[in-house]
Amino acid sequence: MAFGDHCGEMSRWITAQCCENMVEMVDNPVDNLCCGAGGGAWAGPYAKERIDFGKWKADQIKATGAEMVVAACHNCRDQIKKSLTKEFDLGIETKYVWELVSDSLVIKPWTKTEITKARKKRNAQFVRDGVDLEEL
């Protein structure tokens, strides 16, 4: 598992709790390069430049040898998952850090009382907002 961001220790710690073998992308966070889709580039028209920029990130990801890369940002995740993986044949799975947590959960089912209480609140909300559950 490799963590692809420069967004901080908390995400790193969370990732480590979910994976037995987390590896760092690089030794120094300042060398953990931008994915190439930052600053709005994912929504921009300069696809060739975005991909060429992303080659640096693709090389860093490849060098980790990891099976999964975790991103804490929508742009990084989309760039790696939808573009770099294909362009540079990365053969890697990409997840949001909160997706990794979600996938790692073993959820204890709520009690009947909790469920009844939640549904009552939900139904009141639907009435207030004019949402008809039968129509969904």
Binding site: V30, L33, C34, G36, A37, G38, G39, G40, A41, A43, G44, P45, Y46, E49, R50, D52, F53, W56, K57, C73, H74, Y96, W98, E99, V101, S102, D103, L105, V106, I107, K108, P109, W110, E114, I115, A118, R119, K121, R122, Q125, F126, D129, G130, V131, L133, L136
Partner: protein, 235 residues
């Protein structure tokens, strides 16, 4: 080649202090640090900053350099002279005419100002989508099902208010369930706003400070209106 008279530089739109011409040593550390070096012929952090310092800022503003640059800030971090390269390149975006902002950034920003999210998703469509996804969560068997789950909308006094990324309701609605499953497991008290719920601030990227501020104010206003103390901004 025309000689540049530095005393006759046009007034800077970027409001760059003229002493910056001396601050930059032209060492090129920024060029080595920048993954975008080589992507736009003629431009890199050093040539762009030098051009601006020498009064040729319009050439930089008109080039695609400030938009191929992802504003990662590595140039500025590495600069031994403390030149504010990141800030300067973003300012180049700010001073470009709005109808020349590349791609959908400006369009999305204006849509957000007008409709409350970058993609113009109407309130009722959003409320029905959230209700419908909530119902799926109760039955979802691919992951653990979450009986009792629903998306609390405009719920006062919740612990957390969460912004949403319009790309998800628009194109990848199931991806919203990752976060929701965590809230369900933690029995968190949380809510979303029925209006102005957009978390993606494209004014930041398009260089539009005024719209950026409006968006931030809306996120704060939602939290104040619903008396929620913590804003979760998963962007």
């Amino acid at each position: 080649m025309e000689v540049l008279d530095l005393d006759k530089r046009p007034k800077s739109k970027l409001e760059l202090d003229p002493k910056w011409a001396n601050i930059c040593y032209t060492c090129g550390t920024c060029v080595s640090a920048c993954p975008a070096t080589g992507l736009v012929p003629g431009w890199n952090p050093r040539t762009a900053l030098r051009a601006i310092a020498l009064g040729l800022e319009q050439e930089v503003i008109d080039s695609k350099w400030p938009w191929v640059c992802t504003l990662c800030g590595r140039c500025q971090f590495k600069c031994p002279q403390g030149a504010e390269l990141l800030k300067t390149f973003r300012k180049c975006r700010t001073v470009r005419d709005r109808d020349k902002v590349p791609g959908s950034l400006h369009k999305g920003t204006m849509m957000n100002i007008e409709k409350g999210n970058n993609l113009g998703i109407p309130r009722d469509d959003m409320l029905h989508l959230l209700a419908s996804l909530g119902a799926e969560m109760e039955e979802d068997d691919e992951h653990a099902s979450c009986p009792g789950f629903y998306v609390p909308v405009d719920q006062e006094d919740a612990n957390i208010i969460v912004t949403m990324n319009s790309k998800e309701p628009f194109a990848e609605p199931d991806d919203m369930k990752f976060l929701w499953r965590i809230f369900h497991a933690a029995k968190e008290s949380w809510t979303v706003s029925s209006t102005n719920w957009e978390g993606v601030n494209w004014g930041l990227f398009s260089g539009d400070d005024e719209s950026m501020k409006i968006q931030v104010e809306r996120v704060l206003e939602n939290a104040r209106r619903l008396k929620v103390k913590t804003i979760l901004y998963p962007e």
